[in-house]
């Protein structure tokens, strides 16, 4: 029963997506083209973020650490 509700809910979500983007009025082959293009773009975004976001986050954290370390060094140098 839960599976049936889930299926109906997913069908309703897809219907809302069709209505909101205006794809509802297009012919089925045009809908397929749009869905393909959209899914390709989403896949590319996910892949790019999977490959590059951890590296960028690590580099940013290293830079902030360097900044804090540099400040501490400067303060100890001035006071000492």
């Amino acid at each position: 029963m839960d599976v049936k509700n889930l299926k109906e809910y997913l069908h309703w979500l897809y219907y809302q997506y069709l209505l909101i983007t205006g794809i509802y009025v297009l012919e089925p082959w045009e809908q397929s083209i749009f869905n393909t293009v959209l899914l390709t773009m989403v896949a590319m975004i996910i892949y790019t973020s999977y490959v590059f976001v951890p590296i960028h986050v690590r580099l940013a954290l290293d830079w902030f650490a360097l900044l804090v370390q540099g400040r501490v060094d400067h303060i100890t140098h001035l006071s000492g």
Partner: protein, 536 residues
């Protein structure tokens, strides 16, 4: 610095002080507690709620995506990969000025055609509170249709202008019309000025004049032509027409045909109208600065796309102050508003002789066809001689005139029954009930609480087609309107409440609207529901 401040404060004081004696309208609006009570209470009864911002963004997104696909399909047609079903130039004419490249044709080809099955549906019965539709399917995505031969019976009619339920085929009520057909025939075969002036027309015009409380009236065979052919007879070059932003096409066409200067004021906005009047009187005609020969303010009683009612008391006050003339088009409001169905003049408690030209149509509340113009006797006599419609258009057909006479006598109670006044009251009750329930359900509807025209906002282009088809599946016939009749972001469904709708029919419609509102996601209203009094 101090002196400049003194001057400015003295100036404003002077304006306010002498303002309240001369500019009585402006003064009374600025002082608290002394304002014109009508304007304040009426503005509370009208609502034009704005949807949340994301709705506008998604509407533009939807239009953008469909436009992109429109360009794509046009490219396929130009390259030859797809056959073009619409009119195209011939090959020899491809180098000429293009005929079909403007936005309107692009919109028709690529947006309207895809959802075209929601309009022009063939009806095969009387357009009463319930009617029959012919089933129609399309095999090639709305380029061509074919009728399957089946009929969809008893579809609830929420789109016909049948406010008082006179679109009926009750034999007893229609007996006078049948007698008129037997006596006069159907065609008049002449214009009013030649041989087409029948005694039934005289009777109808006297009845219309007494119904409206005017001195005299004249009737015409077509409602649209009443506006477009008579405004040119009343004004011409050297006159000024101040027309509301949302006036009907017939008024705009008549104003343009007349050759007068047209200036547009914002919809129902009295400050805009007053500013235009002041500028007109101070500046005069464009180059010569001579005074205008006539200033005519053209407004409608109920605006059918918004459901809003004109602010008549304020306009009459302005017109008296600036000595302009007023032309009131009561196409949707005659018979439908007012305690006894006399229109917006009765709704606001005004004297009909305050309005210079009372115009209306018989199409909406009287179940017939045609229009009238009423006013002072000199005005109507002038129109009898000078109107293009009187000189060139065929006179009104006698059975139609008899139907209007019987409908009007029914409303006035002259036939001895109370059917008419009951229908007027039933319409008012149905209107208030329907509007109150729609607001409680959470939809955005426009317009005044008394207007039987109820626009329900849909906004997104995908939902417009889906809504109309889903309502037809539930056996309810609605009219949806999109661009270009409305602004591009405000597509709507327009309901016309009728006195012939029973409470059951309205409840069925409201139940379906509730379900569809949740399923499609149409409940955009963000206000808490307030309690409206329901006096029966």
């Amino acid at each position: 610095m101090a002196r400049r401040a003194d001057v400015s404060s003295k100036g404003s004081q002077d304006l306010h002080g002498s303002g309240s004696s001369r500019n009585r309208l402006c003064g009374s609006c600025q002082e608290n507690g002394k304002s014109n009570g009508v304007a304040h209470s009426w503005s509370k009864r009208e609502s034009f709620e704005q949807a949340p911002m994301y709705v506008a963004v998604l509407t533009y997104l939807g239009f953008g995506i469909v436009t992109l696909f429109g360009y794509f399909r046009d490219f396929l047609r130009a390259v030859g990969l797809e056959k073009c079903h619409l009119a195209q130039e011939r090959d020899e004419q491809k180098d000429f000025v293009p005929l079909y490249q403007d936005f309107e044709n692009f919109y028709t080809r690529n947006l309207y055609m895809r959802v075209r099955d929601n309009w022009n549906r063939p009806i095969c019965s009387l357009p009463g509170p319930e009617f029959d539709l012919m089933e129609r399917v399309s095999d090639d995505y709305n380029w061509t249709f074919r009728l399957t031969g089946r009929t969809i019976h008893n579809v609830i009619n929420m789109g016909s202008y049948n406010y008082l339920g006179f679109a009926e085929n009750n034999e007893k009520f229609l007996q006078p019309v049948a007698n008129a057909t037997k006596e006069y025939g159907i065609g008049v075969c002449s214009t009013r000025q030649e041989m087409g002036n029948l005694d039934i027309h005289q009777e109808l015009e006297e009845l219309v004049a007494s119904f409206l409380g005017a001195e005299s009236a004249m009737t015409f065979g077509m409602g649209f032509a009443t506006n477009s052919m008579n405004i040119p007879a009343l004004v011409s070059r050297g006159c000024l027409i101040l027309s509301d932003e949302l006036n009907h096409t017939s008024l705009i066409l008549g104003a343009r045909l007349s050759g007068a200067t047209i200036r547009v004021f914002k919809h129902n906005n009295m400050q805009s109208l007053e500013k235009l009047l002041k500028e007109a009187i101070m500046g005069g005609q464009p180059r010569t600065h001579r005074p205008w020969r006539k200033i005519l303010i053209v407004v409608e009683g109920i605006y059918s796309m918004e459901g809003s009612i004109v602010r008549l008391p304020e306009i009459v006050a302005l017109k008296k102050k600036y000595k302009a003339y007023l032309y009131l088009d009561e196409a949707h409001s005659i018979g439908a508003v007012g305690a006894t169905g006399r229109g917006v003049t009765q709704l606001f408690g005004l004297d009909p002789s305050d309005v210079d030209v009372l115009m209306g149509t018989f199409t909406k509340s009287f179940g017939a066809a045609g229009g009238y113009i009423a006013g002072k006797k000199e005005l109507v006599d002038y129109l009898r001689a000078h109107s293009h419609s009187a000189a060139y258009a065929t006179a009104m057909s006698p059975p139609v005139a008899r139907q209007i006479i019987r409908a009007m006598k029914c409303i006035m109670g002259l036939d001895g029954l109370t059917v008419g006044i009951q229908r007027v009251r039933q319409l008012a009750e149905n209107t208030r009930y329907f509007r109150r329930r729609l607001q409680e359900l959470g939809f955005i509807i426009y317009g005044s609480q008394d207007s039987p025209v109820v626009p329900l906002l849909l906004y997104m282009p995908g939902k417009v087609g889906a809504f109309s088809r889903a309502m037809l599946e539930r056996k309810i016939g609605v009219v949806v309107v999109g661009f270009p009749a409305t602004p591009i972001t405000e597509a709507r469904a327009r309901f016309c409440v009728s006195s012939a709708h029973t409470r059951d029919m309205l409840d069925k419609v409201l139940c379906s609207l509730d379900e569809l509102g949740d399923y499609l996601g149409l409940k955009f209203s963000r206000r808490k529901c307030t309690q409206f009094e329901l006096d029966s």
